[in-house]
Amino acid sequence: MTRLHLDQRQIDRARESARRIAGAVRAQMEPYTTTSVERATLRLLGVDGVDENGVPLPNRLVEHLQAEDLLAHGAAPVVIGAMLEQQSTVQQVAEAVAAGTLRLRRPANAPLVRAACDEEAGKRCAQIAAQRAAREAVIASFGEVRTPWLYVIVATGNIHEDVKQARAAAEQGADIIAVIRSTGQSLLDYVPYGATTEGFGGTYATQENFRLMRAALDETADRVGRYIRLTNYCSGLCMPEIAAMGAIERLDMMLNDSMYGIIFRDINLQRTFIDQFFSRMVNAFAGIIINTGEDNYLTTADACEAAHTVLASQLINEQFACLSGLTPEQMGLGHAFEIDPEMTNGFLWEVAQAQLVRQVFPAASLKYMPPTRHMTGNIFRGHLQDALFNVVSALTQQNIHLLGMMTEAIHTPLIQDRFLAVQNARYVFNTLRDLHAEVEFKRGGQIERRAQAVLDETGHLLARIEEIGLPAAIGQGVFADIARRPDDGRGLDGVLAKADDYFNPFPRLMLPGGH
């Protein structure tokens, strides 16, 4: 096994810093819940559908609970209490509230209601566990595919077109299909409903769209003889709800970063930290692999100068993931091949970074992202840049490999762009398959020294973040050169303090070892 000689104690110290950084944030956010966490809780309990104006019932219910000053107690006990009283289902309660025929109030018998919450939530958790088992059974029957898994994006705006493109991509060799969301969905404070055929730069994430794509990929899996993983975006203002929908519809991966929304979408920091915890807990329980978004830092910051911020952020993302119960295999920590191709020895620095990340997170399902920033209209050079990216991925044994498109800088992929990208990756992966086991890094060579230098800087950065706290660090623009303050950004109005008797049945059922 090709390995860099790195100072393991330094890695351990950096990880300890990250653990304390994440722990401090978690403790700060623990007394709060959000409207989106409560809506996700309702969705998990079975509330679905929209009212006559197209407003999702989870939103109607949570707005009602806010208006009645009940939300701080938790949506679950109030709604389940009403369900017991009405001798109905949660869905019927939601419909009655939306119709204006039912006004919710605090339930009379708290222990009884809590027991009923646990029972209802337990039933729903069993369904999600069954989806997880179904996935594992199908993968076992086909056999797991070799890594790096080829990750391909579809983004037509129309779910039915997406299905066609996804099937074609899977037939050409894609292992993972990601359906890009419509521009701006991350800033919607509700989840659109039903099958959608119009989107901008992508397709709305809706539960029905999830279901349609899942069914299509299951069918394709039978034809191509391997399980095709489905990915969507568990990010933005509805992060926890998307997690709930994905768990129910058996998505396999979710883009689910602990800080992306804060930095790149100007979503409030508190809202994001609370939402990411709940959404990751659901993803963990559903056996979903999360993908983090550190690659994005390098679209605004320089890939060489900011390399340590990527590793620092990965360590923080890892620790937040641990708090939510994700296993290392479920952590698709992100990084990217973004060094300026004009830089002498730039390829060495790419290898150094990818191998460093591989060694710091030996069990993680690393997600490696292709060049974007330095792609140009010269598709011939672009194809070569993508080939070099493929080489690094094979050599450093990355797991989730997002296919680079030679037309990256021009347009969303045409069908032949994707076709050629798959061929490029398959060629490189096949011809270099065992190279990683045949060559060694020169002891004290340039690659090793570069990796060690990034590790040093990462340690210093994490120590500084630990000292001032993560919110203050984000306020100073440590990541991606973008600064955000704790009380700024969208969605702060959806953050509320929990009452003393706040109750939510899911953490106890979903977190390993309970709440």
């Binding site: 074609a168 901008f200 032949q416």
Partner: protein
């Protein structure tokens, strides 16, 4: 002017050699292959040859074709419009602004609507710039406000009003089904509707933007690739000086 006829070059002058590749929405067979060849011929290629054909599955097939272009153009007869300005360096721009404006020039920039690619706007606006060319944020006589990606045109206009912007700079990098044209038109229309169009210098940049296209869409200038901050800045201050002179002229007549 003497004519200067031009066609693509492969290895002999005027051989017209070109390559192209495309997908046909049918499975690969001999008929499809011939269809690809005929299509290339209709595109103006003599001796079109399908050098590679491959089935892509799901009823699609991929072709690489070489041929000899029949057409030619007269280079001497071609006119390309370019933004009209003398290119200054950063210090030159700063000096001219302070001399002519006597205050900082305010530039508000964004990637508008669906575009999430900030590469272009960052290269022009951010302190660091690109390829050793410092961005507008580094200009002492400019207040450069980069709003980043996916900014609604409405929000951009509101911000421009708040900041009393002299210049609005928009970037459109990646497009899908030519959505960038709709985005750009929408912004120009909005500015017109707000009565701001005459007051701001409106500039667009992006790899598929030409000055000609920009003018067509109602912009003052368009910049393609290989543009740096000093190009944009030089144009902006020259345009400002030109307009101010024009407005003063009108003013005198009015008196």
């Amino acid at each position: 002017m003497a004519e200067q006829w031009l066609k693509p070059y492969g290895d002999t002058l005027d051989d017209g050699r070109v390559q192209l590749s495309f997908t046909l929405p049918v499975a690969l067979d001999e008929q499809a292959r011939e269809a690809a060849r005929q299509l290339a011929a209709m595109m103006g290629l003599d001796e079109a040859a399908v050098v590679h054909a491959e089935d892509m599955g799901q009823g699609f097939s991929f072709y690489i074709v070489y041929g000899q272009c029949r057409h030619r153009v007269d280079l001497a007869a071609i006119k390309v419009s370019r933004p009209d300005y003398a290119r200054l360096d950063k210090d030159g721009v700063d000096r001219l602004i302070s001399e002519k404006m006597g205050r900082k020039m305010v530039v508000v920039g964004a990637c508008i609507e669906s575009d999430a690619h900030t590469v272009g706007i960052d290269a022009i606006m951010n302190m660091k710039g690109y390829n050793g060319h410092k961005g507008l944020e580094s200009y002492h006589q400019m207040r450069a406000i980069n709003l980043g990606a996916q900014v609604d045109s409405e929000d951009l206009v509101v911000r421009a009003i708040e900041e009393k912007a002299d210049v609005i700079l928009v970037s459109q990098v990646v497009t899908q089904k030519n959505i960038h044209l709709d985005n750009l038109t929408r912004l120009a229309d909005l500015l017109e509707a707000e009565g701001l169009r005459e007051r701001v210098i409106l500039i667009v940049g992006g790899p598929r933007i030409s000055h000609e296209l920009a003018k067509e869409l109602g912009y003052d200038a368009g910049f393609g690739s290989k543009t740096y901050a000093e190009d944009v800045a030089s144009f902006a201050i020259h345009e400002w000086i030109k307009r101010t002179a024009r407005q003063k002229g009108v003013h005198h007549v009015g008196n």
